[in-house]
């Protein structure tokens, strides 16, 4: 049995194959003693592991454990209160920042288009383009190539502060429900 066949056999044991593939592998297992032995071993391992999860208990009393959790909750809440993020600041970062980035791109596109068209195309260096970035959250790096008649502006998001990150954190634990 090659490596792929072994993994496919395991997928069959785990019920991860389509009906058609499952029928094909079942026929193969029926006809091949090595495959049959391996399938039996995998089934046995799967059964004894899943039915016998080791049991553990917290090595602390309920009261002590809870007091530690409570202290952590309280200190996390206190930290949030120290650096409150107002709804206005939150939406500013969520909406206005990307919009200002887009506006900057549009502005540069217009400038670049006007600079490089027409008979003076061969001498792009005559047109000085100044990139002014007023955003605190979006940084920019520009690159100009005279030989290629090209002007590139790369926009990137600067680090956000920790509190805003916590607010903006979109990780959704309900995914696991």
């Amino acid at each position: 049995m090659n490596w792929e066949q072994q993994l496919e056999l395991q997928a069959w044991v785990d019920g991860e194959l389509s009906e058609k593939d499952a029928r094909r592998v079942a026929a193969f297992v029926e006809a091949n003693s090595t495959a049959r032995a391996l399938a039996e071993e995998l089934k046995m391992a799967k059964a004894f592991i899943s039915a016998n999860e080791p049991v553990m208990t917290v090595p602390e009393t309920r009261e002590f454990y809870w007091s530690q959790v409570r202290r952590r909750i309280e200190s996390a809440e206190a930290a949030r209160e120290v650096t409150p993020v107002t709804p206005l600041a939150f939406w500013w970062r969520r909406l206005v920042t990307p919009l200002s980035g887009l506006a900057l791109v549009a502005f540069l596109a217009v400038i670049s288009f006007n600079s490089f068209r027409g008979p003076a195309l061969e001498d792009a260096s005559r047109f000085m383009v100044e990139v002014e970035n007023l955003s605190e959250d979006v940084g920019s790096i520009s690159y100009r190539s005279q030989s290629e008649n090209m002007f590139v502006v790369y926009l990137y998001k600067k680090d956000q502060d920790v509190a805003a990150e916590a607010q903006a954190d979109s990780f959704d634990y309900s995914f696991f429900q």
């Binding site: 391992a45 454990y65 429900q177």
Partner: protein, 200 residues
């Protein structure tokens, strides 16, 4: 004299609703009920008492902070288990960056080690008391690398499909299949080895 009937236990759902309204007493009761399960999951992944305690407590803090997101589509303890698993995975990733890859791991990537293992034909768990069986499984789990152990835990204890495990572990489905295959075969061989030790 007739004994008084026992006070029925308040269901988790009710405690969760109370905790969602900010009732810490209800949340404490939920912790009291499920702390062992959450701790056990952390321990099975981290294999270290202090880390398991720390991460399980961190999971409860996150649970409290995100309680409003919990809509009851799964049980509360399943939701909490997923939180602690994510914290453990993050921690294990951090640790992995700090340590060198083992020779065994490299062998596994080449698909070599598991091919040399003999197929276990006799059930090595036969006749064992449940407590002894669990102790041996725990001992064998300890022998696996964290990648193999984690895949095994997510598949066998958490019942996750290959696709979900790959997503959680940030790897391909092929890697999940390969790791699971190795982990199962290694577990079967370790258990058979313990049986032989016992008989000799």
């Amino acid at each position: 004299m007739a004994t008084q009937p026992e006070k029925p236990e308040v269901p988790d759902e009710k405690l969760v609703r109370r905790a969602q309204r900010g009732d810490m007493v209800a949340f404490e009761e939920l912790i009291g009920r499920h702390r062992d399960k959450i701790y056990a999951r952390a321990f099975s992944m981290m294999r270290n008492e202090d880390e398991a305690t720390d991460l399980s407590q961190e999971a409860w803090v996150k649970g409290w902070q995100r309680l409003k997101q919990f809509q009851g589509e799964s049980s509360f303890v399943t939701w909490m288990t997923r939180i602690v698993i994510n914290l453990c995975l993050d921690q294990l990733r951090k640790q992995k960056r700090q340590r060198a890859e083992s020779i065994e791991h490299l062998d596994e990537e080449l698909g070599g080690v598991e091919r040399q293992m003999p197929t276990v034909t006799v059930n090595p768990t036969e006749g064992l008391e449940r407590t002894e069986l669990r102790a041996r499984i725990d001992r064998a789990l300890n022998q696996l690398s964290y990648e193999h152990r984690t895949v095994l835990i997510l598949h066998e204890f958490e019942d996750l499909e290959y696709k979900e495990i790959a997503k959680r572990m940030e790897c391909s489905i092929g890697t999940v299949m390969s790791r699971l295959f190795y982990a199962r075969r290694k577990m079967a061989n370790l258990m058979a080895g313990y049986k032989r030790e016992e008989m000799s």
